[in-house]
Symmetry: C2
Subunit: 234 residues, 2 copies
Amino acid sequence: MVSNLGIQERKEREKEHRREEIVDAAQKVFFDKGLQAATMDEIAETAELSKGTLYIYYKSKEDVYLAVVMRGLQILHDMFESRIRSEGQVVKAMIGLQETYYEFFKTHRNHFRMLHYLQTPQFHRQVSDEMKQSCAVVNKKMWDLVIALIQRGIDESILVSHLNAAELGIFLWSGATQLMIRIDTESERWQMGMKIDLERVLRVSNLLMLESIMTPDARRDNEPLLHEILPRNS
Amino acid sequence: MVSNLGIQERKEREKEHRREEIVDAAQKVFFDKGLQAATMDEIAETAELSKGTLYIYYKSKEDVYLAVVMRGLQILHDMFESRIRSEGQVVKAMIGLQETYYEFFKTHRNHFRMLHYLQTPQFHRQVSDEMKQSCAVVNKKMWDLVIALIQRGIDESILVSHLNAAELGIFLWSGATQLMIRIDTESERWQMGMKIDLERVLRVSNLLMLESIMTPDARRDNEPLLHEILPRNS
DNA sequence: AACATCAAATGACTTTCAGTCATAAATTAT
DNA sequence: ATAATTTATGACTGAAAGTCATTTGATGTT
């Protein structure tokens, strides 16, 4: 027992590495097959491990799934952060956030789907408390970015309404999210039946929601900026 | 073979009755256990039938689930219809629709959840085409009600925007739906962490969205009506 | 009434998959 | 070299969706 401290550390690193390898494999399988159709056996095979080993590192399939979700949240957080940092004006930054969320949706479609699964009540059952906790931390980190920006908008008298910063965040977030979900799953249905371009609806919706919580002054000051976003027709 | 026509008819009726009995049982079990945890064995037991019989009347668990969803859609449709019929003014009727949707959410929470499950991509896999078709019909019937009202609003120059009636419908619908989903699943989380009342957010959100697509004239004319909805504070 | 035909119902069986656990392999400590 | 401990394994269990050969029962025919 000469250098057991160093060994301890190395083992920790290796363990962490294994956990990441498992998430790599899980992500691949979840993205390919979807949450339901993905099996632990296939994840094990992809990770070149036995199924039993997966259960040493994660308590359940749902926990593995949450590990993938956390990666998505982290990506979204990083995208938000870099976009907000590079923009001083609140209104521009708000529009930037909306665009960034949509960009995340387009370029990380599978991660977006994973995040959406999270909302269905069927999970949160076999999920371990630790995992729920970790997830909440990443989620809050991202959410705090958004709320801080909105708060700045309120402080600068650019944004106003009967709602506080966090509530405004939820308001903006909800409309956008639901529309993206529809774009993801029902786009053709709407395009066929009626002649509806959901992506345009999303753009207009984002604009309407943002305008609806801006002060008249701010709306006037940012008019050219806001009208830039609008689609060509009408 | 004297009166085989009458017998044929009676058999049809009995068959239809069985189907309804199965949906009764399925609804009970789905509502109690949730979509995932509900088993076909338990549905069979509740219906006092064998599992094999269920599969004579429905092709899969998902089909049975869709039969329950259709009931929810029908309830919502009926609620919408009676509310719209009793209101001539477009703005009042629009507010009525928003209130009705929320009322549906509160009084038929389980049906709302079933509808929400529909959005997850994990289904639509083992669902039979007939069932999908039937579901689309009921859905369209309800949707047409909403769109017709919005179209009336546009025709009367009360509503206006870059979107057509159907697109406006999706816009209003999406924000409300996503907020209700959150109220259903994450209400405490938001209430604890930050001090957020999601139901108030929903009310304000509905108002903001509606106002954002009203013409300035209409907004002025309906000012007292709109401000009635607002929560007390601020 | 006895028999034939057809439809409806059954439940034992198959398959698939999450999760477990006794055993084996590998690694570390003595 | 050997014991102790940690890590990995895959055969096994239980649960649940879906199937199908067989039975039950109803309708029609002689």
